[in-house]
Symmetry: C2
Subunit: 191 residues, 2 copies
């Protein structure tokens, strides 16, 4: 079921979901198998009418295999309330823990585009099609995606802007440093 | 002159300076000309003994030209106190404003490695050598750098960890959203 407060973000504003550098969850599905992993190394690559993202996916991850097979993935922004979930799906592998998603409380729903399941409780979602770049993928574990759909939780992202200061702190996004140490997104400042 | 509190960060910990997704300043020098620009699209690409970073540099920027000519650049993390400086060097070009750096209060000092001047007042610095990838540079404006030196302001980064909560808020790093709207790095949370 689509979460309450799930609202469409125009493609030309979609980079704003990722521009502040949060840690993301990466989801993908192929052959009936869905996996979700955490990634701190995700970044905007382009905006405007051709929004693109990069994400680094280690060869050991099962999610990477699903992305290479299906050609699609989603990036989504977990919140402070999802700290344990984020560390959990970033630590355990579906290869050795088949009930990984259930165990870490991941609830999925279908994106309006239908290609990739999305994680409930996040506050921003970017559905992406893989742009095959074999050299980058092999040499650097670097994947490029064309953003084809974007949505946000309207309690914290409205009119093309994050509004964290007006919402509960539990809805703030996360920035991983190392070893389970994160910072939440802090106060807004305007130049 | 090297700033007070400027301290060496081991290469295998250098990714932690950038892992939380802050906006950076990019500096470069060639033929006696130095430029500095702001970039929100910078990301860790690898860690361990071969730390690498990515940064997206528009073809219109003069700093990009200096990097392509010299093969070197530095990424550094500006603070809340440098908000106006960050927006200034991200808005104005050396092409049309030859005194851009002076006008925006940029003070430079030499990195211990000597290749690229660094910006004083920042709290983390990564000296990088360009890893030439012509296809990425042309098609995506995407540049890859091997990190060859790293330093941090020990008031906020000690023993391999950011310690923002124990320092003045003016030393927190910045995360750009759009149009001069930033978030500062917020409270630390541990999983």
């Amino acid at each position: 079921m689509t979460p309450a407060n799930f609202s469409h973000v125009p493609l030309d504003k979609s980079y704003r979901l990722l521009n502040h550098g949060p840690t993301v969850l990466v989801s993908a599905r192929h052959g009936g198998v869905t996996d979700v992993m955490a990634a701190a190394w995700a970044c905007v690559l382009d905006y405007g009418q051709t929004p693109r993202v990069t994400v680094v996916l280690d060869k050991a991850t099962h999610t990477r295999e699903l992305i290479e097979a299906s050609g699609a993935f989603a990036l989504q922004l977990p919140t402070r309330a999802q700290l344990a979930l984020t560390v959990g799906v970033g630590t355990d592998s579906l290869r050795t823990m088949p009930d990984k998603l259930v165990r870490h409380g991941v609830q999925l729903f279908e994106a309006p585009l239908g290609e990739v399941p999305l994680v409930a409780g996040c506050v921003g979602w970017l559905a992406c099609r893989l742009r095959p770049e074999p050299h980058n993928q092999q040499a650097y574990d670097l994947f490029i995606g064309d953003v084809v759909g974007a949505w946000a939780d309207e309690r914290v992202f409205r009119a093309g802007r994050w509004q964290f200061d007006a919402a509960p702190d539990e809805l703030r996004t996360l920035h991983h440093v190392a070893g389970g140490q994160f910072f939440v997104t802090g106060a807004a400042v305007q130049a």
